[in-house]
Amino acid sequence: MRKDDEFRAFVKRVIMSCFFKIIMISAVGSNAFFTALWTSYDIRYRLFRLLEFSEIFFVSICTSELALKIYVDPTDYWKDGYNMLDVVIIIITFLPYAFRRFLGKQFTYLHVADGMQSLRILKLIRYSQGMRMMITAMRQTVYTVASVLLLLFLLMYIFGILGFCLFGSQDGGDYDNWGNLAVAFFTLFSLATVDGWTDLQKQLDNRDFALSRAFTIIFILLASFIFLNMFVGVMIRHTEDSIKKFERELMLERKMTLMEEKQVILQREQEEVSRLMHMQKNADCKSFSELVENFKKTLRHTDPMVLDDFGTSLPFIDIYFSTLDYQDMTIHKLQELYYEIVHVLGLMLEDLPQKKPQSLEKVDEK
């Protein structure tokens, strides 16, 4: 499949090129603008052709982009999240057409499908580096967010059932707000976001329920004060962690590149020096040592040289000498120890032949 490979490489280059990105960004941007314009009936009436044209333009570009990308890389296409987003948006884009065609013009949910077209602008996110970074940072907080929301849901469920049983009976109870579970959920959510809860409470009060105040107040304390603020605390911690990690990675990367550059420069220097040194004769027939001597002669004593270096400063010299002094002292002590050992061994050596005849004498005596 050789021809296919070359063509694939070509298509891949086209997709990765700047020009393609510019086309995509302009298509999505203009379409978003026109979608916003489309909402007003007036403008829709007057600029109908233009808007239709932009619509067709956008759909064609999106589909061709999808086709090209799938052609280049069928298996890896589905691993990237942004590509999945592209697929979802294409499906959403085709929904109104599908509805109109198959389910007739009076389908009740048609305007819903029309409304979802506003999601097209999310395609722009993949082209901005900062947004991508932020989305990846936010992705890590998703689990925490989900678990807190789940806890909130559980809490609302408990209180919902409780409220339904207490206040939701058909006669004598507040049927509108606590009649079935869905309405009870809404009421509780309204209490949790503390919006208009006094009106709901007034309705309960009118019906003269004994526990209603305690119920409401306990729920508001739990849901609004504790849970929703716990949310803030958890997000703060996550944001801090992710920012710290990000900065650490950045610093590490920077250091690595710096080290590599330094190494390269040092290597080059070493090579230059060794080359110069091993070169016995250059154009002026001088060896390296003579060059260095000539250089040394050009240095005058009165010329000051200003350095920014720690290695040539007096504190460094002082510290270095102090360290060397310590080293000397240690070595001196070590040497004294050696001498001791040698001395003792020598003594032992002298003692040894004397001991032998002594023991022999003793044996003899015995």
């Binding site: 916003a36 602008i121 040194m277 009165t302 040289m305 102090s322 070590l334 050696y338």
Partner: protein
Amino acid sequence: RFLGSDMATYHQEGQTQLPRADAVRSRLIDTFSLIEHLQGLSQAVPRHTIRELLDPSRQKKLMWEDQQQLVRFSIKPQHTGQISQAQRLLSKLHVRCSQRPPLSLWARWVLECPLFTNFIIFLIFLNTIVLMVEIELLESTNTKLWPLKLTLEVAAWFILFIFILEIILMWLSSFSLFWKSAWNVFDFVVTMLSLLPEVVLLAGVTGQPVWLQFLRICRVLRSLKLFARFRQIRVIILALVRALKSMTFLLMLLLIFFYIFAVAGVYFFAEYTRSPHQDLEYHMFFSDLLNSLVTVFILFTLDHWYALLQDIWKVPEASRIFSSIYVILWLLLGSIIFRNIIVAMMVTNFQNIRKELNEEMAHREVQVKADMFKRQIIQRRKNVSPETLRSTHGKTDDRGAIQQKENLDLSEVSKVESIYEATEEDIITSASKPEMTLSKKKEYQSSSSVSSTSSSDASSSESRFSESVGHLDWETLVHENLPGLMEMDQDDRVWPRDSLLRYFELLEKLQYNLEERKKLQEFAVQALMNLEDK
């Protein structure tokens, strides 16, 4: 002499490559730009000496070559950190050699004079007071107050003129730099804005009361100039701006979501908008894009969302499911999640700013500690070095009492020791050279005398030092204080060129010597082991 050999022969002896020696050599090559010099391109060497510069003929030639040439006159470079524009101007050649300082320097001096800045702050306060009194007296028709009104008006005009003068002074000092600082641009805008209505009124273009009101408003804006004067307010505003800057992408994402939900809202609630139902409170809330945006914002602030939802439910054509999904989703996403993300980012940003400020203070503390450490080291050198010299002499005495077998190795060791000692002394003398030649000798002596006096009357520091030496070993002490020392502003980093070359050469040789000594130690140990076997 041993030290007279050059690098080439030493290297050809086949020594093993020591990384430290190589590092020293690299430093030497780098500092003297040896490679370029040997290849014939000498670029980094200074081109003119001081003597040449003071020669009038050469000076003229220099000035013709390059007007903007900066000449460093001070030998002792101080790490001031930031070189201000005034210092830069003062260092320029044509400024130094001219008769009078340029006008910009005078303008800058006036601007930075504390008397002038306090006067301006006083004028700003006076402006606010004048304005307050004027507003009070605006409606009264008491003719006796007419002189007071006149004085107030005159005072306002006077203040305006002084502000304009200040701006002109800032322009004089440096026109291009004026526009680079945001505070100055803000000052300029506010002053021009308050100047505009007055000019218009004077020109008699229109006497409408609208312009008079505008005039009053702009006079109030002049009080905003206060923000630039006080350092604390500046710090707070800068912190706020920085925190906002890091949140740009978040705010952009939020705007994108606003757009999505606004456009979707227009479509979703088209039935609601078009319904003929009579008593809908929020009927026009989703009628077109702008209203929809405002409604989305209202929902974002969690205000009367349930009432809106119940209103929508009144219309039977609007599907309950989708409307409730829309509202609940937007509440969760926008109001609960996004708002808390914004709070979290602001908190972390403020924490970071505070941490940076703390780091500055900690940095300063580290410097102070490093300074103390530096003095202690100088003091220590003087105490220890006579001792070590004595001990090395003692070593040579001891050696005579050892058996013959060790003599060969030990004499090697002694030779190396003496050589090393000689090297050390040489380095000391070469290190002392820079001080002596540049009259830094006095400073070193004074610092040593200072350290000795400080050791005598601040004996607690020395005892603390010896205690610290007792508590920590030398290496940890050095490692702790090394970063602070390295960053400290050094006053004594000036070397004569040939001594510097010699210093590098000697340092390199010292490394090789140390390595040799280590090898000799190993030989001694080996010999000892052999002796033991016997």
